[in-house]
């Protein structure tokens, strides 16, 4: 276990200053970065959750300029990744790209052609770096202020100091964005931490869907992904965020996501976690206005060597708010899937309703799972319930499918797919198809 505080030293302060200068950021952003850095250095490592002792925070190049420290030979790619690319039919050139050789993708964001359409509606959709310069006042109002301040926890502070890339998505009053806004992010340098920072603002009555992630594994050698996502849902607005995470199995994925939901607003989180060595992911919804609602749908697949620790943090801070959580996790090999949730109903939040349902499926002898929910109910006029189950694939289901001609392997894959269906059905089709294929590959053991 790492020591409590880190003495990283002046080197980081210089790196932050250089980064800010190179990006041409306004002074307030530099100040914010420096403040975040000091918070990061003063906060201890978390004493709970998965083992983070393999994470060495001293050895990361936080900012890499485009031509320094490029990724190595394709031959250095781990065997399992090569197999995955084969199985997914990814051509040679793209493999180089996914292995981190693509120069254009240096901590940056790839846009879809929809950018023009969005512009017409008055929607602002650009990389966070660009937004800081183009809309400084707007960004300053929202960037690490009320939603995820640098003091939220150590890795939020780390992000605040070294963030680069991420999306700024602003939807004006009443605007409904029809097509989901999609973003890919990739990481280049093997020893680089990915600290993207995304802010989504939906003004009153607006509606938008945002998808991030990629089913093909994204590789970082000894990496850390400490991303932050801050979401503001206006009155009667609706935001859905879908994330498909498949970091290569050496990455520590410590993400912070939080949404503040106003009166009659609605927040939907859809999280599919497949990769990383360790994931700590607890999307939070703060229901701060009357009638606000949140929906958290999670599916995670923990294979050998993985610990996926996810959960929902929901705060009912106003009357008549409601939220529900569905979490489906699968553990294979010695993978461990954990649900760690927190529901809090503040005094005065009368008529709040909350329900959490988490189910775990264990596939192998060494698989394990755990659920650690906490419900703090400080308002008698509320209804809070939680249900969980854990077990293996039912023999009678297997038998039934096999009697219809499926091999045992196929039957298991089918059952696993069905188990995840309540969540995967909310993922847009092209992503879902890719995701399911990947699960099939995992089930077959083709990717060890």
């Amino acid at each position: 276990m790492q020591s409590d505080t880190y003495q990283i030293g002046l080197k980081n302060e210089e790196a932050v200053k250089k980064m800010s200068k190179d990006k041409g950021e306004p002074d307030w952003m530099l100040k914010k970065r420096l403040y975040s850095l000091s918070v990061f250095e003063s906060k201890p490592m978390p004493t709970w959750g998965p083992d983070l002792s393999g994470l060495d925070l001293r050895d990361l190049a936080y900012y890499v300029s485009p031509n320094v420290g490029r990724a190595d030979d394709l031959e250095d790619l781990p065997e399992n990744l090569k197999k995955t690319f084969d199985a997914l039919g990814i051509p040679e050139a793209e493999r180089k790209f996914l292995a981190g050789n693509g120069a254009m993708y240096q901590s940056e964001v790839i846009y879809e052609r929809m950018k023009d359409q969005l512009k017409k509606q008055g929607v602002i959709f650009m990389s966070m770096d660009e937004a800081v310069n183009k809309y400084p006042d707007l960004v300053q109002k929202y960037f690490m202020t009320r939603c995820v301040p640098p003091t939220y926890h150590k890795f939020a502070a780390l992000n605040g100091a070294f963030w680069s890339g991420g999306t700024f998505l602003y939807v004006p009053k009443g605007v409904k964005v029809e097509m989901p806004v999609q973003v890919y992010f990739l990481v280049d340098h093997p020893s680089m931490g990915q600290f993207e920072h995304t802010i989504i603002i939906a003004e009153d009555g607006a509606s938008v869907e945002y998808i991030e992630g990629c089913s093909a594994p994204a590789y970082i050698k000894g990496g850390l992904h400490a991303g932050v996502m801050e979401i503001f849902v206006g009155k009667g607005a609706r935001v859905r965020v879908t994330t498909i995470q498949n970091w290569s199995k050496n990455v520590y994925n410590l993400v912070t996501k939080r949404a503040i939901v106003n009166e009659e607003g609605r927040m939907e989180w859809v999280e599919a976690s497949l990769g990383s060595k360790v994931t700590m992911l607890y999307p939070a919804s703060v229901l701060s206005g009357r009638g606000a609602r949140a929906e958290h749908l999670y599916v995670s697949f923990a294979s050998d060597g993985q610990v996926l620790d996810t959960g929902a943090k929901i705060t009912h801070a106003a009357p008549d708010t409601s939220a529900y959580v569905i979490s489906r996790s699968i553990s294979k090999g010695n993978g461990r899937a954990i649900y760690r949730g927190q529901v809090r109903v503040n005094p005065g939040a009368k008529g709040s309703v909350n329900s959490v349902k988490c189910d775990s499926l264990l596939l192998s002898e060494e698989s394990s799972t755990a659920t650690f929910p906490v419900e703090e109910v400080y308002e008698e006029g509320s209804d809070v319930s939680h249900e969980a189950s854990a077990g293996k694939i039912a023999e009678d289901q297997l038998f039934y499918l096999m009697s219809r001609g499926f091999s045992e392997e196929e039957a298991r894959a089918l059952i696993v797919r069905g188990f995840m269906e309540p969540v995967t059905k909310k993922i847009p089709l092209e992503y879902a198809v890719e995701f399911n294929r990947l699960i099939d590959l995992e089930m077959k053991g083709a990717v060890a």
Partner: protein, 361 residues
């Protein structure tokens, strides 16, 4: 006796340095920290001496075949001594294990049947119970029949149900001050344990229990907590499973003050065929009611069937309307509901005495 005095002297040092167990339920970066009893409320030290042999503290009546002796009289017994000289790092548990005032050992010989009713006359009691192979024991203990316990009471009970035995337990604890009760159940192969435990909370009440299930054993737990206004009640039970073991745990609470209800199910690797069910139900009454529930599952074996559920809230508006349409006031409706919630307890006379008065209040 001498040995025990030495043991207690050594324990004094541990006690002085021990910290109260702080519950840190860690989730999503938010430390939920609960420590309601101030350090200064704990007794300064473990009690100093006692009469030899200690024969006060309880009164009993029983039937069947059993042996009942003060703990110190059996301190030479190998089995008893192993249990007697245990310590803990948790300040409260240590207080209960090493700082008891009256201690008794109950032994039901192999193949025998026994029935025993115990009433505590004083505070800080320890009961070590051994139901030997193929025996049957029906034991009921009232830890709080005397109101002398209202300052500080730390009692404990360790029950061993050995191979093929059947143990039925009922116990009640209540206090208006600080009250701590620690229960340990060890259920050996092929044995069954059924426990109904009721806590009526006072200023600070902590009821902790753990049950270890060996292969092929089963346990049924019914844990009730009644938390009046301005009271604090903390109930936590941990069940650890062995292969082919079964547990059914019902935790119920009527909370007018502040209640914490935690049920934990653990299944270790190799505990194949385990079946576990944990249900927590908390009825909150009144503006000041606060409840924290945390049902947890920690599973390392795929060949299991484990589930749990919890619910907290107030009486539903439809149910309330139905009862009101029969002429009942809201208070009467809630009292009915609470009576229904604790209904399984009323079967045992000891509980209905304790509960009956409270509910009507």
């Amino acid at each position: 006796m001498e040995e025990f005095k030495e043991f207690r002297d050594r324990a004094q040092l541990t006690y002085a340095n021990a910290l109260p167990l702080k519950w840190k339920q860690e989730s999503g970066g938010h430390l939920v920290y609960r420590e309601e009893l101030r350090y200064s409320d704990y007794p300064m030290a473990l009690p100093q001496g006692f009469e030899e042999p200690d024969t006060g503290g309880f009164h009993f009546n029983g039937s069947g075949d059993y042996v009942l002796k003060p703990l110190l009289e059996c301190a030479r017994d190998l089995w008893v001594s192993q249990e007697l000289y245990r310590t803990s790092e948790d300040k409260l548990k240590l207080l209960a294990l090493a700082g008891w005032k009256h201690g008794y050992y109950v032994n039901v010989p192999q193949g025998s049947k026994a029935e025993l009713r115990v009433e505590a006359d004083d505070c800080s009691n320890r009961l070590i119970v051994r139901a030997q192979e193929a025996s049957e024991l029906d034991l009921s203990v009232n830890f709080s029949s005397k109101s002398a316990c209202n300052r500080f009471n730390a009692s404990s009970m360790q029950v061993y149900a050995e191979r093929g035995s059947k143990v039925t337990l009922n116990y009640a604890t209540s206090s208006s001050g600080s009250n701590f009760l620690d229960f340990e159940g060890h259920v050996d192969s092929g044995s069954g344990m059924s426990l109904s435990a009721l806590q009526v909370s006072g200023e600070y009440s902590r009821h902790f229990g753990s049950v270890d299930l060996e292969e092929g054993s089963s346990v049924r737990l019914l844990i009730g907590d009644f938390v009046p206004k301005r009271a604090f009640g903390d109930s936590m039970f941990v069940v650890k499973h062995g292969a082919n073991s079964t547990s059914d745990v019902q935790m119920r609470a009527a909370v007018f003050g502040k209640g914490v209800i935690r049920g934990i199910t653990g299944v270790k690797t190799g505990a194949k065929g385990s079946k576990a069910n944990l249900q927590e139900r908390v009825l909150m009454v009144g503006e000041e009611a606060k409840a924290i529930t945390s049902p947890s599952l920690d599973i390392y074996e795929k060949d299991v069937e484990a589930r749990h559920g919890s619910w907290s809230g107030r009486i539903g508006s439809k149910e309330l309307f139905y009862l009101q349409s029969r002429g009942l006031t809201e208070e009467q409706a809630i009292a009915l509901l609470i009576r229904g919630m604790f209904a399984p307890f009323f079967v045992v006379p000891m509980f209905s005495d304790v509960l009956g008065g409270i509910i009507n209040a």
